[in-house]
Every structure is written in C-alpha cells, then in structure tokens.
Symmetry: C2
Subunit: 333 residues, 2 copies
C-alpha cells in the first residue's frame, strides 16, 4: 500500500508523512499531489486571521469542538506561523489543543513554520489544504498569525475568511489593517466579556463601511442598487456580519457556525463557490508555470554571468532591457 | 536629430512624445530607454502618496515652487492616478498647476492614467522616471492617489517617500493604512490650520511606533541598540519625522524641503542610496525577465489548448502540476 493509499484509508501516520513531503515540496510530494488531486474539491476551507493576542487559536479550537459535537464533519487545522518575535506561544497553543481534541480520531492538527519565501508559504499552504481535502476532512481551518501580505495571500485560498479582533487590544483600531478587512467574510470580536467591546465593534463597523463603500449603499437603502467599484463582483451582496465570541467560555460558537454555514450557502447560490475555486486553481497553475520557467531560466544561466550583467546595469553601462536580452541570449548559448 | 537627442537637448515637445512612447511600451520607447539609460542615476526620486482629500497635489505644487525659487534644480512631476471613483479632480488639478508653474521652462508636469495591470503601471512609472532623470530633471516627484498595493509598488521606486495626511479627514485614523506607513520616510500633516491637527499627529505617532517597533526602542532609549526585525536593514536608523504644512498658504515648505535634504544625506551617508538603486534595478531586470519568459510562453501556446488544460483542472481530471507539464510540453510541440 502506498503512502497516498494509506493516507486516504485514514492512516494518521501516513497522512502526517505525506504532509511533510508536500510541505518540503519533494518529488514524492508532487507525485502524491497529482494522485490526490482527483479526490479534492469537497472541503470547506475556512481562513482565520487576526493580530496576536486576539485569542485566535482558542477560537479555532472551540469552533472545531463545536463542529465535532454538533455534526459528523471531520476537521483539520493547519496553523501557519510566519516567523515573528510575537509568536512564541505556538507550541504551547498546540499542547492545549491536544488536550481538548487529541482523543478525537476525526480531528487532525498540523503546524507549519515559516519556510522560504512568503510565496512559498502560500504555495505550501494550498498544497497541504489539498491533502486534507483529499483525505476526507470536510472542514479545513487555515489559521494565520498577523495581518501582512502573507496572511492576505493565504486567506485568498479560503472559501470563507474570518478576521478576529479583541477589545482593548492595543489602541483598538491600530490593530486592524485595512487590507485584512477587505478580505473578511465574517468579523469576530473575541474576548467579548472584556471592557471596550462596543468600541471595537463600532470601529470595525466604521472601517468596514470605508473598505466596502458599495456595501454601505446596499445596507442603508435596503435595496439592491449596486454601483460596482472596479474589480468588485457580485461578492458585494454579502455583507460581512460582526459576531461576538468568548472562546474561554465557549460562548457564541453556535452563532458563528451558523454564519459560516450561511456564507457557504451564499457562495453556492451565487456561483461564487466555483468562481473562487476556479480563480484559485488558475492562480496556482499560473504561479507554477512562472516558477518553472524562472527555475529553468536560472538553471540555464551561469550565476557569474548573471552577476556580471547586473553589475553592468548598476554601472549604467547596460539598460535593464539590454540586460534581459543579454541574459536570454546567454541562456541559449 | 533623433527624438532622444532633441529631448536631451531640452526640447519639451520631443520629451512629451518620448514619454508617450515609453508609457505605451512601444518598440521605439524601449529603444529610447536603452539609449537614455547611461544618462540616468542623478535624479532624486520623491514619492508622494496619501488618501484623496489630503491636498496632496497642492502640496507637490508648493514644494515644486519652493525648489524653483530657492534652488536652480529642475523639477518634474509625474502624477499617477490609478482609476478610482474618487479621483475626478485630476484634470482640474493639472490646470491649477499650469497657472502656477507653466511659465517655468524648468518644470515639467505629466499625468498618467491607469493603463493595463497594476504591475504595468509600476513598470511605466519606473520607465518614465528614467526619462525625466536622463533629461536632466534633478527632482522627480512621483505622485500617487490612494493607499493600495499599487501605491506601495510605485513608492518603492522612490528614494524618499512622503505620506500625506490631513486633520479631520474621515475618522482620522481610518484614512491611514498601515502598509503605507511602513514605506513612509517623511510624514506630512497638510491642512495644519484645520482643527484636529494634534489628534492626527498623535495617531500617526502611535501607528508609526506600531509599524516600526525597532524604531521605538531607538527613539525611547536614545541609543543605537537595534534588534533587527526580519527583513529590516540599517534603514531603521532613520526615524520618519512628522511635519506640518498648509499648502494653500505655502506654509511649512522650507522645513519640508530641509527634511527631504536630510533624508537624501542620510541615504548617501548610510550607503542606502546605492542599495536602493541596486535593489530597484535588480527588481526591474527580474520583472522584465519574468515578463519576457511569460510572453514567450504565451506566444508559443494555443489559447484554446490553455483553456482546455485549465478546464481539465477545474474538472479535477488534471492536477495543477500535471497541467503545467502538459502546457510546457504543448509549448515545445
């Protein structure tokens, strides 16, 4: 029995080994992805992001427990930690999770450390999600720390993206980055038993209206009169709800799971589910083509020649276009 | 006399035509860039960005007038407007500028509309800056509207980046995007005669410390004890000053010009000037290589075949990697 067959048959150790191969982008990992791919396309990918300190990991934990208690769905958690001086708690978080969820054979938790470029991280996350999907995990959480470009890229993989905030975190609004708000399908104010929850909610609502002016029109006039901003689609018809949770008391997770189910239903009804899938797969193919062409190019050119040509550009002896021509000719020679 | 020779000799009409060719990325434009390139590397590229309504264009206007009155430097302004429902005032802005600056043969103003992809816009901006640089404009302003990824990409071209805010603009802090703050070398609170200027300054200072925790250490302890965040360099030794201006009254521009001169001096002293130049040129070469490889690939493949392969990926019959292999083989056939 191959590793892939064992993983598909439910062997957790085989799944774990497979994930490592895929994460490391080995030849075996790529071959495994090829044979797993026909089995993918069933999972609901749920991205969860937010600043450190918002209780994001506990929230994912509680949501996973909720799904396991209320449904028969199998749940995977992929925790992606771009390296940061603030994320020392990842290991401890994993241990706490283990205590709550480790007895459950239908829950699989995997952490991924930063590895190589940010692009590589997004790529590995996509590939590992496909492994979980093929292995029959119907809910796949993709949890990221922080609010930078890496998180935005990773969130674009998800069908539904949760952005988590907490009251009194720093200066409230400072912790929110507009780029992240733009990708939020559902906003969660966690730690909702702490003072300042109304302020946080109000700030979120204000920023949400700023980020999606189109939605404001829709929301305030109560009818579907959409003036599409450039690059916006019928997505605009989904108004991101703002929900409160208290992860430490397991409060608010029924409502949160309902909102996620509503968003899934919205994606299915509107056709956005398959549009997002297709856009994601096309992006993946284009990215792999670019990567392959670039690595073929690098393999065909001497590093010393590349440095020599670039040095001439720095010295203003060759223009960038002339350098490209020289490099492409150097490749053929 | 060629167009390039005429432009280098100071012929404004020739320069204008050359800019159009370069903007449209024609064969003539590329050839012109090749012959202009040895003349580049002298200009100080100053990026100016900020939300609409902050008075950014008037500020650039006043700063240009200041340079013309106080120095012998020739000034070019490249105004880049990514399309947006909020930027209807661009043309009017140009007309107001003309009245102030059009009598001056050593000032050249050029607007650029959105054209093609955002990547294309950044590329065209880089190329047009090189034309101004070669034509002997010692100060080149690159003005962008808004605060999205496009502006960040364009700002990366500049040696010095000004981020402009204004008091009472929306909810003050809402107008500031963290991604933009991270690229600011100098922060300007324009319209400083309006109420709320202290609040805006305080918010900026807070977000600045959040965006550059390393700088906070430096600033508060008063000694050079830098714990570099990942990806940060000796850049951290520059603490972005926050300055006040009133563009409509021409107030604060001496101080602003001084801060710009200090930043230029800092860049020269620290070696960051040439580091930024080199990074910029290497990025440009890599971008042109990727672009060329991708367009060679597209030219060598049938669109119908590409669609067919992608359709099989959507149907989960081919994995992304298998699709890439099929496309690369299809290219060779």
């Amino acid at each position: 029995m191959t590793l892939v067959d064992s993983a598909l048959a439910g062997d957790r150790l085989a799944l774990s080994r497979l994930l490592t191969q895929v994460e490391n982008d080995t030849a075996e990992g790529r071959a495994a992805l090829d044979s797993l791919f026909p089995h993918t396309g069933q999972a609901h990918l749920i991205g969860v992001t937010g600043a450190p300190g918002t209780g994001k990991s506990s929230l994912v934990n509680q949501l996973a427990l909720h799904y396991r208690r209320q449904t028969t769905k199998r749940v995977a958690i992929l925790a992606v930690d771009p390296s940061s001086p603030f994320t020392g708690g990842a290991l401890l978080g994993d241990r706490v999770r283990m205590r709550d969820l480790s007895g459950d054979a239908d829950v699989f938790i995997r952490s991924m450390a930063t590895r190589g470029t940010l692009g590589g991280l997004a790529h590995a996350t996509a590939a590992m999600s496909q492994v979980f999907d093929a292995a029959g995990y119907e809910i796949v959480f993709i949890e990221t720390v922080g609010a930078g470009q890496a998180e935005v890229d990773i969130a674009r993989l998800a069908h539904t993206t949760l952005v988590v905030e907490a009251p009194g975190f720093g200066d409230d609004i400072q912790a929110i980055k507009a780029g992240i708000l733009e990708i939020a399908d559902i906003l969660v104010v966690n730690k909702a038993d702490q003072p300042g929850v109304e302020n946080t909610e109000r700030a979120l609502r204000g920023m949400l209206e700023l980020a999606h002016p189109v939605r404001r029109v829709f929301q305030h006039h109560g009818k579907v009169e959409i003036v599409d901003a450039p690059g916006k689609s019928s997505d605009n018809l989904w108004i991101p709800p703002i929900l409160r949770t208290i992860a430490t008391q397991a409060t608010g997770f029924g409502e949160l799971a309902e909102a996620i189910a509503r968003h899934r239903e919205y994606l299915r009804q509107s056709g956005d589910w398959s549009r997002r899938e297709r856009a994601r797969l096309e992006r993946e193919v284009d990215m792999l083509i670019q990567e392959t062409l670039a690595s073929q190019f690098r393999a065909a050119i001497q590093a010393s020649y590349y440095d020599e040509v670039l040095g001439k550009v720095f010295a203003h002896q060759l223009s960038p276009w002339e350098a490209v021509k020289a490099l492409l000719n150097g490749r053929q020679a």
